[in-house]
Amino acid sequence: MTSNASSSSFSDEDEESAGQKPKTGSIDYSPDAIENQLPSIALNTSIDEEKVSVADDHHEPVTEIARGSSREIEPERLISSTGESNLSTETGVWRNSSKVEVDGATSSPCSSGYAGEMGTSSGTASTSGADDIQELRNNSSSVGNDGEVLHSAQWVPGKRHVDEDDTCMSWRERKKHFFVLSHSGKPIFSRYGNEHKLAGFSATLQAIISFVKDGGDRIHLIRAGKHQVVFLVKGPIYLVCISCTEEPYESLRGQLELLYGQMVLILTESVSRYFEKNPKFDMTPLLGGTDAVFSSLFHAFSWNPASFLHAYTCLPLPCATRQAAAAILQDVSDSGVIYSMLMCKYKVVSLVGAQKAPLHPDDMLLLANFVMTSESFSPICLPRYNAMAFLHAYVHYFDDDTYLVLLTSNSDAFFHLKDCRIQIENVLVKSNVLSDIQRSLLEGGMRVENLPLYPSTRYGSLFHNEPSDRSQESLQPGIGGPDGLWHFIYRSMNLDQYVSSKFSSPITTHQHQKRLYRAYQKLYASMHDKETGPHKTQFKRDGNYVLLCWVTTDFELYAAFDPLADKGSAIRICNRVCQWVKDVENEIFLLGGGSTFAW
């Protein structure tokens, strides 16, 4: 048990290894109990090379196909992927790995074989810096109460586990895989492992997709035990996610859309023309050097609500500060700059566009993700703006966090944009915008423990409090907000923006934050379920939380409470949260006035 835990590496992704799945229920970890629970599963032999045709016993994966009859597909039998080493070991890929999951999750002594194997394989992946960071889960006292800052401090971009392929147990154990392949079955990108070594696996995926396609249908999802295999076909580019994270199908599909969008941002959709001309077209060289962009995007899938809300968020700032920033951005925007964005990490400080076309929040997410991991003057494509053509992005960092993005259609504009940047920087420094941004980063934001008691006019602004008072308050464990409020996300419908409260006690550990994130994700999907929804309210109590969701035409509120919270008071608190958001809206949102993005 302990050896298993220590070999599991910390990174943002507990999905890197199935062995780390958080278990909330009380499970007896003794070997006897596990054997009783899982009498039919031969844990001892599951790493054995000789364990060959497990797959033949499992034909039950159910396929959900868009239209038409639910035709049954038996992936293991229909098409078997075979790696270099052993013809027959490959046949039961997903079956095998679901066993591994059971194995890892219960941390039985039998899994020591895996633990060892995992340890060696992650040891060889020298690029995975994050893996060297020790697990912090059991040491919550060392974790700050601002999850976002925590994540970005510890998360190291870059591709992980590059030496793996589909014959590696450690590879199969990864909880969430992303693959991109061409319509001729050639691998383009894989989140884990070496694309070339995964050529056979990639061909298998293509065969599954094409088999359904040839029947005049489209494959969307295969469920196989705990795994979901989600497919997205974008012309000649096929995207596949294989996940046992229990995220809703809609979320995973949305993530594939963003993954595709990120590729379009780098290359435009013109790649499809090249595929039309030549099916053998290889786009991997065009994506050279972008590993960090994609790993950072996968990271965002696990903590950035923008990735499923399709809304962006602002850095909370005094209204005057934001206006000062907007004014100077506006000044340069008439000189051939299409969009100017002043950003702090993923948060918007100010945003100005010369054209009457609002920037789509997804484009902003993809752009921020690209900018934060890439060069300073590069052609980029905004998939929701114009997927076929490039714009040119000038990017300049004022400090570690704050950066300016100027978008232009003129590829020779570098020096002009540099002048614009100098002009902007002078103003920002003089008017203290940059120092206000740093202050907001340190102490700004909405904290549930500061939720005002209404009626009260004391808190008209987030920036009145003595910072020292507040930080002392939030250091005390187990408090949270009034009536058991732990956290909330408020999404404004007509602004396409959201605001989320800072993580406070008891949502302090990475594990808690991620679990809450997943709960929100699920809640969002169920509220927007196309078959049964959309819904207006939802009140849900489970072992972890009371979750309350409230959707109106103006806003969506997602709130998490102590699992023992009273329903009546939870609803009352939600009303107060909405009131509070309204009271400080000019500090947390970009409002119509200054920007051109309000329609």
């Binding site: 098409i79 050639k186 691998p187 070594k197 094409s210 040839d214 013109s270 030549n278 099916p279």
Partner: protein, 206 residues
């Protein structure tokens, strides 16, 4: 060739059922042979890394089902192939006669840009059987057919004994490479803001 990046070559193996496609692939990749016959269902995929003229390649080998009832993947199988391997059993005349059909089927489905020069390789397999006494397709006959189809390279192989398999696949890789198209520059357009404005304003009026 400007770049030294690693290339992936897609190789399709076609031929009647039972001629030994899977065995050839298995012998080549895993150096194993089994006498048991197991029909391939749908398709099977293997990868093999090879080094050739100081460059690393990955062969993505698509072993298809010879039986007609599994011929459902069509275009998807053949799309973007770099080389096509046609296999027959030298002891079965019909499997040799089918080669023309397989070749045509491939050219129709894959519709390569230059069908005349698309790289094929023909393998006459199972030359070990019965010491060669049950052989019905002579080397001469096979070579004549290959010559008539634009000088397709021909190899006599035995998957069972591993005879000539390595050489055949080396030729396959070489041919797949020959067909490598010249690299095109990737230059998408840049947004023309002025023109977009025009389009947009005209769109707004209606």
């Amino acid at each position: 060739m400007a770049s030294r990046r690693r290339m992936l070559l897609k190789v399709i193996i076609l031929g009647d059922s039972g001629v030994g496609k899977t065995s050839l692939m298995n012998q080549y990749v895993n150096r194993k042979f089994s006498n048991q016959y197991k029909a391939t269902i749908g398709a099977d995929f293997l990868t093999k890394e090879i080094q050739f003229e100081d460059r690393l390649f990955t062969l993505q080998i698509w072993d298809t089902a010879g039986q007609e009832r599994f011929q459902s993947l069509g275009v998807a199988f053949y799309r973007g192939a770099d080389c096509c391997v046609l296999v027959h059993d030298v002891n079965v005349m019909k499997s040799f006669e089918s080669l023309s059909n397989w070749r045509e089927e491939f050219l129709i489905q894959a519709s390569p840009s230059d069908p005349e020069n698309f790289p094929f390789v023909v393998l006459g397999n199972k030359i070990d059987v019965d010491g060669g006494n049950s052989r019905v397709v002579s080397e001469k006959k096979a070579k004549a057919w290959c010559a008539s189809k634009g000088n397709i390279p021909y190899f006599e192989t035995s998957a069972k004994e591993g005879f000539n398999v390595e050489a055949a696949f080396e030729c396959i890789a070489k041919n797949a490479l020959k067909n490598e198209p010249e690299e095109e520059m990737y230059i998408p357009d840049t947004i023309d803001v002025a023109r977009e404005r025009q389009q947009k304003s005209s769109g707004c009026e209606c």
